[in-house]
């Protein structure tokens, strides 16, 4: 589904990603873990070109999205993204937050988008917040709305960039719950996270990144129960 070949990314002289080669299959729940500064967020952001790779190609459904001639807006409509800091639009109601993109991109009419929004909001238990503004919500509620907003575009794959890192501890659970449900429904997901419990439970593949390379990868059991590289052993001893 998504194919990454020879991906390099540097910011100035600082090389953040070095020769990443990965393939994400439909239905994959790929969880990326690693110390901060390891390049995992940058890797995720390269997938929908929020960061432009320095070298390498990324292919989505056979379309080379790193090609400058690709209409990146169309590609991004197939990829939902959830950010660490939610990035809801504070100048709009929740309903508008969710329906703006589907309506403006011509995916749906306003009435249909409203219906979709209400159905999705109901699923995350926030249908009564449709006319509220983001500033009136808690962090956990904001992040659930952000997930709904991304889902409203009916994406083929969802990218999560440390979705629970900015949350108060008691709100982490409600967000992870929504993500788990999404995983059970078969959504293809790429998740950068520090929640090892989530990685173990939901991930079908775990990538350990450090120093801009994928150091080790495998099933959750392989990664968490039988880590091979010393870097991963060291990392796990610190976070578990």
């Amino acid at each position: 589904m998504i194919d990454v070949k020879g991906l390099y990314k540097s910011f100035g002289d600082h090389e953040v990603l070095r020769d990443i080669n990965e393939h994400i299959y439909p239905g994959d729940k790929m969880v990326i873990i690693g110390p901060s500064g390891s390049g995992k967020s940058t890797f995720l952001r390269c997938l929908n070109l929020l960061e432009t790779p320095t070298a390498g190609t990324i292919t989505l459904d056979g379309q080379v999205i790193t090609d400058p001639k690709t209409d990146i807006d169309k590609v991004r409509r197939k990829m939902g993204m959830v950010f660490q800091h939610f990035n809801l639009f504070p100048n709009m109601t929740i309903r508008k937050n969710v329906t703006l993109a589907p309506v403006r991109t011509g995916l749906m009419k306003q009435a249909e988008a409203d219906e979709t929004a209400m159905a999705l909001l109901k699923r995350v238990g926030l249908e009564d917040k449709a006319e509220a503004y983001p500033a009136q919500l808690s962090g956990g509620q904001k992040q659930r709305i952000a997930i709904v907003r991304a889902l409203a575009m009916k994406p083929e794959v969802m990218l999560f960039d440390e979705p629970t890192s900015a949350l108060d501890p008691e709100m982490v659970g409600e967000v992870l719950e929504v993500m788990k449900e999404l995983a059970q429904e078969g959504m293809t997901m790429v998740v950068v996270t520090h929640e090892m419990g989530f990685a173990r439970e939901v991930g079908n593949r775990v990538l350990f990144m450090a120093d801009g390379v994928v150091m080790e990868q495998g099933s959750p059991e392989e990664i968490f129960s039988a880590p091979k590289s010393p870097r991963l052993q060291d990392f796990l001893s610190k976070v578990l």
Binding site: R76, M81, L100
Partner: protein, 255 residues
């Protein structure tokens, strides 16, 4: 009233000793009431307001366009630089530099006496010059506002598949406007007062009226204090309106 004025004025001209009240009465009457002079101030005020409004519209129009183009240029993805945008950006940078780097008065004289030397519509030339001038400052204010909006907002909009222009229009610009309103209001107050400069190219605004009356009566204090008060009142009304507008915008985010 008129008789009293005529009588006391004769006294004044003959050099007789006068009470404070008498001399105030004569000078005040002479500056504002004699020969319906208040109408001249009023006419000047209409021109002042008209010029301000025109310059405001031109300034905001230029300011928004310049700011959006320059921000778009700065926010291009590396490797996707648009050469046309580069050229336009360069020209706009020159515009901002030249306008901000030369005095308002000099710009007015150049426009009035060189570029539009044959035009008799002094007010329009004045309003145009003020608008072009204001546009440079407004564009920098707006650019600052656009850049101050959290980069995550642009990323969130773009990651949903929205086009750059849509993201700007629905997400970034509305948030920027709220943030820059105080400095924009400040710029408008400066603009209102700067309209007093257009009398150097013949614009018939308030200062022009006052100067005309001064040269007839050889009495400067009352006409000048009078228009100073008028400017003050106008600015105060303006600030009050702006304050109301700001409060209304703030209601929408109901914190």
């Amino acid at each position: 009233m008129a008789e009293l004025y005529a009588q006391w004025r004769a006294m004044m001209l003959s050099g007789e000793a006068m009470s404070l009240w008498q001399s105030f009465y004569v000078r005040f009457y002479q500056a504002f009431i004699e020969a319906d002079r208040w109408k001249q101030y009023l006419g000047g005020m209409v021109t002042t307001l008209y010029t301000t409004a025109m310059a405001l519209v031109i300034g905001i129009l230029i300011g928004v366009i310049v700011a959006v183009i320059r921000t778009a240029h700065d926010q291009q993805r590396p490797g996707h630089r648009n050469p046309v945008l580069g050229v336009v950006n360069f020209i706009l940078k020159i515009y901002v530099t030249v306008i901000r780097g030369t005095p308002m008065m000099v710009q007015l004289l150049i426009m009035g006496m060189v570029i539009f030397a044959s035009s008799r519509n002094f007010t329009l030339v004045g309003a145009l010059t003020l608008g072009i001038n204001s546009g440079a400052y407004v564009s920098e204010i707006i650019r600052g506002g656009l850049m101050a909006v959290d980069a995550g907002q642009m990323e969130a909009g773009r990651s949903l598949g929205l086009h750059y222009i849509d993201t700007m229009r629905f997400i970034v610009i509305p948030q920027a406007v709220k943030a820059i309103l105080p400095s924009l209001g400040n710029e408008f107050i400066v603009l209102l007062k700067d309209t007093s400069l257009i009398n150097v190219i013949g614009g018939k605004e308030m200062l022009y009226a006052a100067q005309g009356i001064i040269s007839r009566t050889y009495e400067a204090m009352y006409p000048l204090l009078g228009i100073a008060l008028l400017y003050l009142i106008l600015v105060m009304i303006f600030s009050w309106l702006l304050g109301r507008f700001e409060r209304r915008l703030r209601q929408s985010d109901r914190r």
